[in-house]
Amino acid sequence: MTLIRDAARVCKSKNAGPFELTIDVVFDDSSTYGKVKASGVLCPELFARLYNVPAEHVLFTPYDAALAFKATFPRLVPAGEFGDTDVYGCQQHAPLLDVDLPI
């Protein structure tokens, strides 16, 4: 069992504008990145399940040059609106930390 929290060098979330949240998972060696990419575990459906959004609202991009995966999807409410819990969107990454990577 290899969890993202043990294998990744970066796992973070942030606003991408006031209406979207973007999450990055970055690895520091190309062999691990390649295995994660080949496994298909990181995919729009994973983010859809973890964050309760339709998969078609998830923009998912593997970025080989940075050994990174990025997923962007709508915020629960726009930044700073009544009910927003995280104006900068930087504490929404935790559900990913315990995703098991079959590598």
Partner: protein, 456 residues
Amino acid sequence: MSAKEIRLLSTSAILGYGFPEASLKAGMARKPDMIGVDGGSSDPGPHYLGVGKPFCSPISIRRDLRLMLHAAIEAGIPMVIGTCGGAGGEPHLNLVADMAREIAREDGLHFKMALIHAEQSPAEIKRRIAAGGIHPLAHQPELTDAVVDRSTRIVGMMGPEPFIEALDNGAQVVLAGRSSDPAPWAAMCIRAQLPPAPAWYAGKMLECGATPSIPKGHDSLFVTVREDHMECEPCNPIRRCTPLSIANHSLHENASPIHHIEPGGMLDTSDCRFDAVSDRAVRISGMKWTPAPQYTVKLEGVELAGYRAMCIAGTRDPLLIGRLDSFLASVRSEVAVKAAAFGASPDTYKLGFRVYGRDGVMAEREPVRNAVPHEVGFVIEVVGQQSQEMASAVLGVARANMLHTDFPGRLCREGNMAFPFSPSDIEVGPVYRFSVYHVADVADPREMFPIEYEMM
């Protein structure tokens, strides 16, 4: 000016975040062609654009600005700041411009200053709506005259072109309203005939100061831009740029890691390479720029959402924690009755209970649902439409009922909540929400951004 190489020094991620004076000195020793800093962001939320105030204190902004002005004037190079005052509206730009004037007067500095305005008149935005030249972003509804009328303030986000014009007209200090973060840096490179791709990429690194380095901290970054690549190196010897730190920063705040939409086109980073040129510097190459068929300017606007009052409390009572939802429901219904009695019906305010220790950070997206914390913190808030006074009145009732409302099995009959402060209630003031997040088609990238010049 050589078209072969442009050297750029960014003091920090935001004007007012602070930077070590030694970093500025080390950067200046490398003979930059321009120094600058990003002045703001929409990231701290809609409040600052609405209220017309900066999110950094004027005291900290003045400290950074004074050091930068002295460095630039003494070296005879331009100093450029985008998104002045945090949100880049008129009051924000005026705040920084007034500081620059005062510093120049106090310290005997002389320079030509350009102010580039970014706040948009409602009439002009409505004219553009009528002409069909405004389009929504991020699944927002079409912009209407009604939304424009009730918006407190709307700014346009400028690209590099107004900066190029100001620099070409001999301004040594350029203070701009809302700008695309990389635009001031891209401007300096593009007017020196460097290609847009490394110019924009350089801007993406510089707009956050030393953030693309490790250890992360508010500090200065030096970037050298050449024909087909750029190199990043932090000014402070305790920091390093590594291929990983640069790659990580390339993901920052963008929906896509490979397609970065900018006012006049798209920066494509799919084929970028990150190569260490020393143990502290990284070369980035392989970026591409595709001009957009239509130049667009992003618009940001906010409207008043009401007035907030809030209160912080906590409970250590397991009997209450065990039946929190039904307790909060009964508090809510008591507040509804009592507030209606003094003129605040439930449709005139929003009452929120943020429960820290349970789902205060992720709300409905919190996946952990079965944990039983031993203590729980509450932020109780009211956003009322009528007035601050009425929001505070409703909050007062909510606070008192959180303290005293009975629940089945209650043993703590003197009170349910621990309040850390007296007074317990905080009046937050006006609350804004984003109302405009659209783009405007423009024929000339400068047409929404008038420039004024003055001599210090």
